[in-house]
Symmetry: C2
Subunit: 304 residues, 2 copies
């Protein structure tokens, strides 16, 4: 299965977009924040409530149009336990709305520690005489710096549970080249990591031709996207950096295969804060997000 559920949702909605859910309080409409503070004071609890209320509206606005959402764990962890409760409620709400949930956690460790992370997100935790799901999502992001020891537990647990992962290969940020672009013989680190990701996923390729080991490749590096698509024919791509970070539709076209498959493009701020750009006070944030989602879908489809 691996990425099959995501791929079928992308086809059904004709939209290879994932909506990022990075709900820092500055993004949340004032009326939602005021209500939360009135009820819970200037507290983490109020922050958690405001975030979940905002996310619910974003999901309501976009669920019909997008196949997936990607909550960024950092923006929930920064609000402590209350933030993490908001994350759990958001995941539950998104799944009930039929969305594929990619949790952006960039976890990495070795042996039974990596296994603990994999169990937490895409597997099951052993309790005393039973097992239970801690924070169940469809897919997580992981960091490859520790080598296969850090990835294998995710692959095994993804294969058992029909889940998937995106492994960082060439990230969208300015300094991604600090290490990723270093020359290794006649190649580079990101190409070497990309080749390993392709190899690690090879035994698990499913109907659509993709393995559960996806890769993160930034929209801000179009040449590398095209190059990696050719070098990694069985690796599904998650593409950050479209919109706010500067990537345009023409920059990402090379990430797709000849069937217009093989990649999903993330946008967080441009979709979540569409109301701010539209000069709205936040009252109509859902309609503004909906318009922005349609514009992004049409922008991407225009080049495919």
């Amino acid at each position: 299965m691996s990425f099959e559920p995501l791929i079928s949702k992308i086809r059904e909605k004709n939209n290879p977009t994932v909506m990022g859910l990075d709900p820092i309080l500055d993004y949340v409409p004032n009326y939602i924040k005021e209500k939360a503070v009135k009820e819970y004071g200037d507290t983490f609890k109020a922050a958690g409530e405001a975030i979940f209320e905002f996310n619910k509206g974003l999901i309501d606005a976009a669920a019909e149009l997008v196949p997936a959402v990607k909550p960024q764990s950092a923006f929930y962890e920064m609000y402590g336990i209350e933030g993490l409760i908001a994350l759990e409620r958001t995941i539950e709400y998104a799944k009930a709305a039929g969305l594929y949930v990619i949790l952006d956690v960039k976890r990495n460790d070795i042996g039974n520690t990596a296994e603990a992370y994999a169990k937490a997100f895409i597997g099951e935790t052993k309790l005393f005489n039973s097992t239970a799901k801690a924070t169940p999502v469809d897919c997580v992001t992981v960091n490859p710096y520790l080598g296969i020891d850090g990835i294998k537990p995710f692959i095994d647990i993804a294969a058992e549970n029909d889940k998937s992962m995106f492994i960082l290969v060439k990230t969208s940020n300015k300094s991604s080249g600090d290490f990723q672009d270093l020359s290794i013989g006649d190649t580079t680190l990101y190409r070497t990591v990309g080749a390993k990701v392709e190899q690690w996923g090879a035994p698990y390729i499913s109907e659509s031709g993709y393995s559960p080991c996806g890769a993160v490749v930034g929209a801000t590096y179009p040449a590398q996207l095209t190059e990696l698509r050719a070098a990694m024919p069985h690796t599904f791509f998650l593409i950050p950096g479209y919109g706010a970070q500067g990537g345009a539709a023409n920059d990402i076209v090379g990430a797709f295969d000849k069937n217009k498959n093989g990649a999903i493009v993330n946008s967080s701020r441009a979709l979540m804060c569409a109301y701010q750009k539209a000069g709205d006070d936040g009252t109509n944030f859902k309609a503004c997000t909906r318009d922005a989602v349609i514009a992004m879908r049409d922008d991407i489809n225009s080049v495919l």
Copy 2:
């Protein structure tokens, strides 16, 4: 300040050991588990209670003897919100016992996302009209794959708040060489990352000669430890892999400077599960852990 509070605690206790707190349920003595299940059933809540009860005992047993503890986030995240509540309680209990708390989270991201993580653990989160601390510890582990964009927010926030971090350089696992040992011109990736860590910390060196940018270097690679100590004279080391992973006292001696300073050695399982090795049923786990802590301290000090 940076690592000064840790260094003074190491000197005071004459012990460069950090006790890892990786409390998977298999490690927890039966009588603690039975009590938790009796009270809360076969649930995450019971797991959280059992974990915290065990951690309390471990901290009680070791607080007089060790300068620091290192909870591994994965083993709390795998028990969901209840696991994270146990983590918060453990951090609070350890700080009240005068211990330096290193949270092993290996977080990594870019820009305002990396900043959100840094605020969550070593800074403060902005709420509505105030700021508050989400999961306050003294030090975190971070992963360097995304380059300086992913590290700078941690450095800035550490400098503001007298906190510190350990950046992965050469990890203790078998496959750490998959990428870390690759040749980059006449050097390797881990050496290149090590040089950057030394450089990033340089503007923030404090009295003892160390910067807030520490490095993780595994006990399982003694030659690299010695080599990196020479190449990174202002970088404090966190050394995993002693004991259960196979590193011995003689393997880590090269990580220390001529003043017997510059490194702290982690042990998790060998200290937490000392009662199992001693053939105890768990009733006397505190005494067994205390003996194991003393044995480890004396083993390390014998080679310094």
